[in-house]
Each structure stands twice: as C-alpha cells, then as structure tokens.
C-alpha cells in the first residue's frame, strides 16, 4: 500500500495508530484523517469539530462527529476509554491547553499531538530580518486572521512534557519535503508526538 495521495502529517499519524483501535479526533476538520484511519486501519472513530461547514463534510463522508468545541468535548469520557486521542494541528487553537492535554491523557491510552513549530528557521528569519510576524507553510495566517492562540516550538513542547512528566513515546519532525532528523527545532515546520501519561 502506498499513501502518496495522503498528506504527509496524516501519513505519520496513520503509522502511529494500531489497526482496529478506537480514535477520538479533536478538531477533526473535514474529517480527512479520520476517513483515512477508518479505510486503512479499520479504526472506530469519533470526531469533534466546531466549524459548521466542516461538520457537513464529515457527515458526507459517513463519519461520526460532534459539533462543539474541544475545550468542553472531553469531560464526559471515562478514564482510558479511547485508544488514541488525536490533536492534529488543533492544540495551538484551544483556549486552555493545559486542561485539554491533561484531559486527553486521562481519556486516551495514547495521545497524538501535531503542531506547527514556531522556531522554524524561516519564521526566525522573518522576525529577525523583516521584523514581521512570520507567515509560513505550516502557519499560513496573517496576524489578524490567525485561528492560532498559542505559539510554541519543538523545544517548548519537549520541556513541557518533561515538566508534566508526560511520556514521549515517539516523535516525528516534518518539513515540506519529508522527515527532518537534523536540528528539528530549527529545520522542522511541524512536530508530531505520540505521548502517554
């Protein structure tokens, strides 16, 4: 099976998820990732998404979705009731990162987190030389229209995990071409982590 049509970050998540597991995708957008996971890994999936139009697209794909915000979406789940809780490109958009992450780690046996790296060298260059808020492929928004509430780097997340005693089981760093192994905090646009409590 080749996954060439699949977005590179989705491919990384796909490889992290065990077949026939249960997945809760927080901020599932139009449901592309859940759809691929169901098709390829036979998972049982549930999405949570706030955007009306994205919800309609999820329903058209036959996905189970809840219309609501991530911040209030986890409280009713029992401890370790889901194999994977996914926060792909949505962690930086939730209001209360701390409570969402700790709730995700409570509900999920595993948590997969993907976020844009604010310390990517092109961002650094834009700030340093142009004195402008960076706009990059992974963070394509102008300052006045960005849905991102938090700006973090790969170092930030790693030290956060140390502080909170979160177990990093796997980490993959990406730029536009593929995986990055050299100095990821400088050269990766995106970090994807498999973590557990």
């Amino acid at each position: 099976m080749t996954y060439e049509n699949i977005r590179i970050d989705h491919r990384v998540v796909l490889e992290m998820v065990e077949p026939r597991s249960t997945v809760l995708d927080l901020g599932c957008g139009t449901g592309e990732l859940l759809y691929i996971l169901i098709k390829e890994k036979n998972i049982r999936g549930q999405g949570i998404e706030i955007d009306d139009h994205a919800i309609y697209k999820c329903v058209a794909k036959g996905l189970n979705v809840f219309h609501g915000d991530i911040d209030s979406g986890l409280s009713e789940y029992n401890n370790k009731s889901v194999d994977y809780v996914i926060l792909n490109q949505s962690l930086q958009q939730v209001k209360h990162v701390d409570s969402v992450l700790s709730d995700a780690l409570r509900v999920g046996k595993n948590v997969i987190v993907g976020f844009p790296n604010f310390a990517y060298y092109k961002s650094r260059l834009q700030i340093f030389f142009r004195g402008r808020t960076p706009v990059t492929g992974a963070m394509p928004y102008q300052w006045h229209e960005t849905p991102n509430l938090h700006f973090l780097s790969i170092f930030d997340f790693a030290s956060y995990c140390r502080l909170k005693k979160i177990n990093i089981r796997k980490s993959v760093y990406l730029n536009e071409k593929g995986t990055v192994s050299l100095l990821p905090n400088l050269f990766a646009q995106t970090g994807i982590y498999l973590i557990s409590s």
Partner: protein, 386 residues
C-alpha cells in the same frame, strides 16, 4: 429560487390517501385499558422485498399522518413535504416512509374527540391520560401489522423527537437508526410552563365546559390563544423582526386594541385558523403527554441507551429557545457515553424552533448522507480522493 420550487413540486410523492388500521385494545403505561383504537397513517414509496427500507416519521404537537404529497382535490402538501419524496432527504425511490397520527390526536387516530364505545358519545375528559410511550406502542402495532420487523430509521422533530427517543428506549432491537431533531429527553420547567399557559387558556374559555363541547360551540378563543403562545415560542426574536418588524397593518390610531401591528394580525390569523383544524381536548392531552415524558425516568440517560446497537443523528438549531441546543447535546452526550455511534449537529438558523420544518437544505444534507450510510451499512462513504 423559483426554479428550485418547481423542482421541489416535481419531486412530490403526488396524490396520497390516509389509511386506517384498528385493533381491539391497548394497555396504556398507566395500566388503564383503551379500545378499540384506530390509527390513521400514510405511506410513501415501496417496501422492498426484505423489508429493510422502512422509515417511521413521527409528527409534532399539531402535525398529523399527512406528511407528504397532497390529498385529492386539495393543494396543501404534507407537513414535511420538503423532506419526503423522490430524491429528497427521505428518498421515496429508495425508502418506504410511514407516518401515523399519534394516539390522543384528532386527525383520524383515536383521541378525546373519538366516540367512546361505552357511552356512544365523544370521550372528552373520559379519555385516559396517555404518554409518549403509548403513542409509540400504537406505532409498533402498525409496524407489526405492515409486516415490518425492524425499522431502518425513526425520525421526527419536537414531540416527534420524543417519540424517536421512546422508540430507542422501548424497542431498541427494532430500530437501526434514530434521528431526534430539536427535541429533549424531558421537558424543562420553562417548556412545561408554556404548555401550562396554553392549557389554562383553553380551560378558561367558558365554552370548554370541562371538555364537553362536542356538538356545540367550541372553546375557540381559548384554543386560539394557546396556539398564539405556541407560535411565539416556535419563532425567534430575529425571525419575528425579519418577518414583521414593527410594520402596521392598519394606518389608524393604535386605539381600542385592534390588530394594529402585523405580528398581532399574524398571531390572530394563526390562532383562528388552528381552531378549524384542531381539537382543544387533544391539545390538553398531547401537551400533558409531552410534559410527563422523561425517556430515562429520572435515571441517567446513558443507562437507558447502554448496549443499543442503533446509529443516532441528533440535530439542533442555534436560535431554538423552546428546545435549546443544550437539550440535544445532552442526548448526544448520553449516546457517546453508552458507546452508541452518534453524530450531533447544531444547524445555524435564525428560525427558532420552527427551523426543523424550514431548514430543509441543511437537514437534507445531514439526513440523506446519514441514512445512506445506515441503509448500505457503509463504514464510511465517498471515494478515496482526499
């Protein structure tokens, strides 16, 4: 817009006829017995060979069995005609759709205005208190009579949504999917309060006469006022402002309490026309059935839903303040907790509670995709071009 309307009419199920089915007796949830019982119903589309395409559509407080198409010589389409028909949300080319008037109603199914076999006169207040569960019991008898073992879906809004939930709780093995729309697992005090004001308006009408008005003057004023209150709660601040503004109907002075504003005139018209088509005692019994309804009987809702294999689509509307979205969310949350595959969507609408009858474009999208998935037993739908 005009073109769309024409297409919509072309996609009608056409001329339909109400049918009747009777049985000897039903034991109500209260323990009382009632009989004989007649159920008025309509069907659209064809039942397939293995009887796997039957959908029961349940109606709201003032609805009836006439959900789609037109009756001979009349041109007012059924109450959910925009959703039921060839190519529509409940696609009658694929599904067999059934709608029955509820027990306690006044449109062909046994209710307080029906003849009491013991006295030969209308039941009036001799009619026993009925529940949402009793309505479902009658629908179950109808489904059995039609030879249908399990329903592809049960779908309905408002009081219809309560019947959907009651089906899930009473006959989970008979329901492959459920679509509760703009509804609640139980009424809030606010909802009970509005119903009570409606009932009081009817009972304060001297012509109501403790329910004994059949054959004489009707409690028309009381029922009209009850309907006016209802209509206010079905709309929203925004939809009223859009529809009426402060437009005046008469240019005269706002004097002596004529229907000076458009909104007043509209409510009067709606109230008065309701009297011609609805029975005041039915209004009392049905609103009481809604107020007494609690699908989980004070237990946590997810306890009742535990172990159920049906798929659920819960729909709410943003501006609905009579059945606020939090009530639908509670249903969806209980599904989640009990492990039921469920989807919850809050449609962005300004129409208030009426939205479930009006926002058919969004509803069509959600309902048609959901039903397709259940009917064909798809894991996911669509092609692999992501």
């Amino acid at each position: 817009m005009i073109a769309e309307k024409t297409i919509e009419q072309l996609n009608s199920v056409g001329v339909v006829e109400t049918q009747y089915f009777s049985f000897d007796e039903i034991t109500l949830e209260s323990g009382e017995k009632l009989g004989p019982v007649t159920v008025a119903y309509e069907t659209y589309g064809e039942l397939n060979r293995n009887k796997s395409n039957a959908i029961l559509v349940t109606h709201a407080l003032s609805g009836d069995a006439h959900a789609a198409g037109v009756h001979t010589g009349q041109n007012n389409p059924g109450w959910w005609d925009s959703m039921i028909g060839p190519g529509k949300a409940f696609n009658t080319n694929r599904y067999f759709v059934i709608c029955a008037n509820v027990l306690g109603g006044c449109k062909g199914t046994t209710g307080p205005s029906s003849r009491d076999p013991k006295t030969g006169r209308p039941y009036a207040l001799e009619f026993p208190l009925i529940t949402i569960g009793d309505m479902v019991e009658c629908q179950k008898r109808l489904i059995d009579y039609l030879g249908i073992d399990s329903l592809l879906a049960v779908a309905g809004g408002s009081m219809g949504g309560m019947q959907v939930l009651s089906w899930l709780a009473k006959y989970p093995e008979k329901v492959r999917s459920a679509l509760p729309i703009a509804t609640a697992a139980r009424h809030s005090p606010q909802q009970i309060a509005f119903d009570e004001v409606g009932r009081q308006a009817i009972m304060a009408d001297p012509y109501w006469n403790f329910g004994n008005y059949y054959g004489g003057a009707l409690p028309a004023k009381g029922l009209a006022v009850a309907r006016m209150i209802g209509h206010i709660t079905y709309m929203s601040d925004v939809s009223m402002a859009d529809k009426f503004g402060r437009q005046r109907k008469n240019n005269g002075q706002p004097f002596k309490f004529i229907d000076y504003f458009e909104v007043e005139s509209y409510l009067r018209y709606r109230g008065n026309s309701f009297v011609r088509r609805f029975d005041a005692n039915s209004y009392l019994y049905l609103t009481k059935a809604m107020d007494n309804f609690d699908v989980s009987q004070e237990r946590p809702l997810h306890d009742v839903l535990n172990g159920i294999d049906a798929k659920v689509l819960v729909i709410a509307f943003k501006s609905d303040w009579l059945y606020p979205a939090y009530q639908s969310k509670e249903i969806a949350r209980a599904c989640k907790l009990s492990g039921i595959e469920a989807t919850y969507c809050e449609i962005d609408s300004t129409y208030g509670h009426d939205a479930f009858l009006l926002e058919f474009e969004q509803e069509t999208h959600l309902v048609s995709h959901f039903l397709k998935k259940v009917f064909f037993e798809y894991e996911v739908t669509g092609s692999y071009d992501v």
